[in-house]
Amino acid sequence: MVEMKVEVKYYAWYREDFGPSEIIDIGEDSTVRQLVEKLKDRHPILDEEQFMIVVNGRIDELNARLNEGDRIAIFPPAGGG
């Protein structure tokens, strides 16, 4: 299976727990959902929280296809105000 790489950047306490960013290998034509499952395997806390995933600056559908070099941001649950 052809693999591709995407960069995943973490914010707030995720950055402190997981590091600022990771390069993740995923299969070609992977979806956002498949990446999410991979991230949950690496960081089980993601299975317990309502985090937000942003692809290239946009909040994407879980069924959206990812492309080589996509920039992913993972946000913990909001806590402003």
Binding site: A12, M52, F75, P76, A78, G79
Partner: protein
């Protein structure tokens, strides 16, 4: 007016941005940094955001509020960076013909902001630091 920025804001400017001949009320919610939480001193607060996504989400919230309530306009400004107790964190303001609609819109906007907009707060106390997380139920 929708902004996420380090600089402090002017409440006069916020109110001026909403003043209209047709309006009969402007309601302003101002959130400031607490100096204590459950008896523990808070020395400083770090506010972090993903600026582009946060501003986009705030614009969506403002637009939703304009559809949902009988309000004319709304302004939301959220600060980021290092803040001290009593510093301004956020202002949410809405203008309407009647005060009831402006109060409702303001209340809804700050509640939604807290759960939908990618902004996070970290408090520094004499004992260390902690992120303010959903579910802490401090507020």
């Amino acid at each position: 007016m929708i902004r996420v920025e380090e600089e402090d804001f002017s409440l006069d400017e916020v109110v001026s941005s909403l003043r209209r001949m047709e309006a009969g009320a402007i309601v302003v919610f101002l959130g400031i940094v607490k100096g204590f939480r459950e008896g523990e001193e808070i020395k400083e607060m770090l506010v972090e955001a993903h600026k582009d996504v946060a501003e986009e989400e705030l614009r969506k919230l403002r637009d939703e509020a304009l559809r949902k309530f009988d309000v004319m306009n709304a302004t939301i400004i959220h600060r980021v960076g290092r803040l001290k107790p009593s510093d301004n964190i956020v202002v949410v303001a809405a203008s309407a013909r009647n005060r009831g609609d402006a109060f409702k819109a303001c209340s809804w906007l700050i509640d939604e902001l807290k759960v939908r907009v990618p902004i996070w707060k970290k408090e520094f106390t004499p004992a260390g630091s902690r992120w303010v997380r959903e579910g802490d139920r401090f507020e």
